[in-house]
């Protein structure tokens, strides 16, 4: 039973609170990833679970046993470290069997387990090598082997792939998933790489500034982010955020309007400051709008920078103050970050500085409270009355 429970775990240092009232309930056999930017407290959280750090407040339960103040060796955990942390003075066999030898396992049992681990990780025949004679990937496998042979209740992994090169990292990602399937043990994984989190986890716990932002399945975090931070962190490239204000029949920004049924919102009404979130793949050129079930009203934009990626093209769009062609000074009024990034098919015909009309996929828009950042709704409901979208669009253009 490898379930892990964190209740009100807080870790304060002299001048910072690294982890702030963390509550996690991780089920047996689950692959949970703690993800967040550096300094968000994810590693500290993992260290409190490992016992390398004792929390200031709160309790930690592993396999129905309270372990808050137990030393790491008595917690039934094994850990894989970012810097791999193989003992440089021991060969691979001694490294892998270190924990077993400390626990006085008999020799045959140790050999049996080491052999199984080397099979799983495909490092047979390397047992008498020293860590320094191995490549980064091999070392990381040995480090994972050292964790596997202990047959722990819970695996803790602290950015185990961070020090590997990009290609190997992707490869090890799949291996870790295979490993999880094979061992069926709880894995708590820490990374700052949202792609790793998305691809491997059963659930993602997004952390920021020591606080849990959301814990949910990867696609839930992607499609229904709990707040603006999660929305911006999960997904690459990042979601576009456009600040605006609620009106009686939609949201208006300085540059465009999206009309929807504001009455359907709970607790928000006209006049509230909200932020519209839209992912690059949900921004479309008007000519492709027919494919969408619920496109928004088209509005004008101008291509700024174009980045062909091969399988798609990223287009940075300027949406603000297009009319004033020569009066560029006016643009500075608004945050330059408030460009809109659009992802289009590689065969799309986009040109630098060209004027385009763009639409959003209404069902995939997100609305956040500008002040708190909390998500208000995901997917905007069509307004009840079927307004002529073209006319409305022209009107909103006129508003500018």
């Amino acid at each position: 039973m490898g379930d892990v429970k964190l209740e009100h775990v807080t870790k304060r240092y002299a001048d910072v609170t690294a982890v702030d009232d963390m509550n996690l309930d991780i089920r047996d056999g689950e692959f949970v990833t703690l993800v967040g930017p550096s300094g968000c407290g994810k590693s500290t959280t993992l260290e409190t679970i490992a016992g390398l750090t004792i929390p200031t407040e709160g309790t930690i339960t592993i396999a129905d046993r309270e372990v808050t103040n137990l030393p790491p060796k008595d917690r039934g955990i094994a850990m894989v470290f970012q810097n791999i942390a193989l003992f440089p003075h021991m060969d691979v066999y001694d490294n892998i069997s270190f924990g077993l030898r400390l626990r006085d396992f008999d020799k045959e049992e140790i050999e049996r387990r080491v052999e199984r681990a080397t099979e799983i990780l495909q490092i047979q025949g390397m047992l008498d090598r020293m860590p320094e004679e191995m490549s980064g990937g091999q070392r990381q496998r040995v480090a994972i082997g050292r964790a596997i042979v202990r047959e722990p209740e819970v695996f803790l992994m602290d950015e185990p792939l961070a020090n590997l090169d990009a290609k190997l990292r992707v490869h090890m990602r799949t291996e870790l998933q295979r490993l999880h399937k094979e061992l069926d043990t709880t894995i708590i994984y820490v990374t700052h790489d949202q792609a790793e989190a998305m691809t491997m986890s059963d659930r993602i716990a997004v952390l920021n500034e020591g606080q849990l932002q959301q814990i949910a399945a990867p696609l839930t975090c992607y499609n229904e982010p709990a707040n603006r931070f999660v929305a911006g962190f999960i997904g690459s490239p990042s979601m576009n955020f456009l600040e605006g204000e609620l009106t009686a029949d939609g949201i208006t920004t300085d540059d465009f309007a999206v009309e929807f049924d504001v009455a359907a919102l709970d607790g928000y009404g006209p006049g509230d400051d909200v932020t519209l979130g839209v992912r690059p793949e949900d921004v479309h050129l008007e000519e492709n709008a027919d494919e969408l079930a619920h496109p928004t009203t088209p509005f004008p934009a101008q291509n700024d920078v174009i980045e062909p990626m091969g399988d798609e093209i990223f287009v940075y769009l300027i949406v603000h103050d297009l009319e004033g062609g020569g009066q560029e000074g006016a643009v500075t009024e608004r945050d330059p970050d408030e460009q809109v990034l659009m992802s289009v098919d590689p065969d799309a015909d986009v040109e630098m500085d060209a004027r385009v009309q763009i639409v959003f996929d209404r069902s995939r828009l997100h609305l956040f409270d500008t002040r708190t950042g909390d998500a208000i709704t995901h997917g905007l409901v069509q307004p009840a009355s079927g307004v002529d979208q073209r006319a409305q669009g022209a009107e909103s253009e006129g508003d500018d």
Binding site: A50, G51, L52, P71, P72, K73, I77, A78, M79, F81, Q82, N83, I84, A85, L86, F87, P88, H89, M90, D91, D94, F98, G99, L102, R103, M130, R146, R150, L156
Partner: protein, 317 residues
């Protein structure tokens, strides 16, 4: 004609000046040559100043004692017998054994305690770390004479500590290894603490964390991972401590009565060859050479052996 002679003299002078100038010129263009020359000069100087005492000891040891007055630089005779006589006249082997025993035991104690202290100072953050470290270093500069008298009183059982109704008399350590090992350890510990602190501080935290997760305690991680990985530092601290104790004179001389069976070290053995009426200078010289040998062996051969040996041992675990 006179003009011709003048020019020839001039050219001669020019040539003379030319030799020196050419040498200067060459040296400036190729300073490497001068540096090389200087290197050999300095090396020779140090070799002579350092090796001459040993040569002189050998000369004295080989010269029969009756001819030893007004010695020159060369031995008068070849009296190897002195190296045998030293063992016949006194149990000199026991003196050497005592010295080595004291040095080894002190080294073991120092390495153990200094490792713990080195771990604390090198790897843990705590308030007052810096002042405490300075205090420990300051201790190593205390003059031993300053605490000779109190220690002597303590180790001869003259200190009585009243504890309510009972009074505890300090144990009589005089003439036992304890009377020397205790002050040795405290005097030579600070250097080892300093060395080990530096080495232990460099071992990555991840390795210690890994060891602790794998099943060691903090102290277990220290002895299984941090210490083996700091083998060169541990060897350095150990060798320095061993040599310092082996060479120590003050407490070695004062904390026992000079009898070999009472743990008197080599210094007593060497001084034992001077009687009231005769001074066996040749025997003292021979004994000095024998006494130096263990350290010479340790430094010349074992230093490398110990460093590589410790590392290799650590590699195999």
């Amino acid at each position: 004609m006179a003009g011709e002679a003048e020019t020839s003299r001039q050219s001669q002078e020019e040539e003379d000046a030319g030799l020196y100038e050419r040498w200067v010129q060459e040296s400036m263009q190729n300073p490497e040559r001068v540096y090389n020359g200087l290197f050999y000069v300095v090396t020779l100087f140090f070799l002579v100043t350092m090796m001459f005492p040993f040569y002189w000891l050998l000369v004295l040891a080989l010269t029969p004692n009756e001819q030893i007055a007004n010695m020159g630089l060369l031995p008068r005779g070849f009296n190897v017998e002195a190296f045998v006589r030293i063992f016949e006249l006194l149990p000199f082997g026991r003196f050497v054994f005592n010295s080595i025993f004291l040095a080894l035991l002190t080294t073991a104690i120092v390495l153990l305690l200094a490792s713990l202290a080195g771990y604390v100072f090198g790897r843990l953050e705590f308030p007052g770390r810096q002042p405490l470290m300075l205090l420990i270093l300051a201790i190593s500069y205390f003059p031993p004479a300053a605490f000779l008298l109190p220690l002597f009183d303590l180790f001869t059982g003259n200190v009585v500590i009243p504890l309510g109704p009972v009074a505890i008399q300090s144990p009589v350590l005089f003439n036992t290894p304890g009377a020397m090992i205790l002050p040795f350890s405290s005097l030579f510990m600070p250097l080892s603490i300093f060395i080990l602190t530096t080495f232990y501080a460099q071992i990555p935290d991840g390795l210690e964390d890994a060891a602790r997760v794998e099943g060691t305690t903090r102290i277990g991680a220290l002895f299984r991972v941090i210490m083996p990985l700091s083998a060169p530092g541990v060897a350095t601290a150990g060798i320095l401590t061993f040599i310092a104790v082996y060479n120590e004179f003050f407490f070695s001389f004062l904390m026992n009565d000079g009898q070999a069976q009472n743990w008197a070290p080599i210094v007593w053995g060497i001084l034992g060859y001077q009687g009231q009426y005769t001074q066996f200078y040749n025997l003292m010289a021979a004994a000095s050479i024998v006494g130096v040998l263990p350290v010479v062996i340790l430094v010349v051969i074992a230093q490398e052996r110990i460093v590589s040996g410790l590392t290799a041992g650590a590699l195999k675990e």
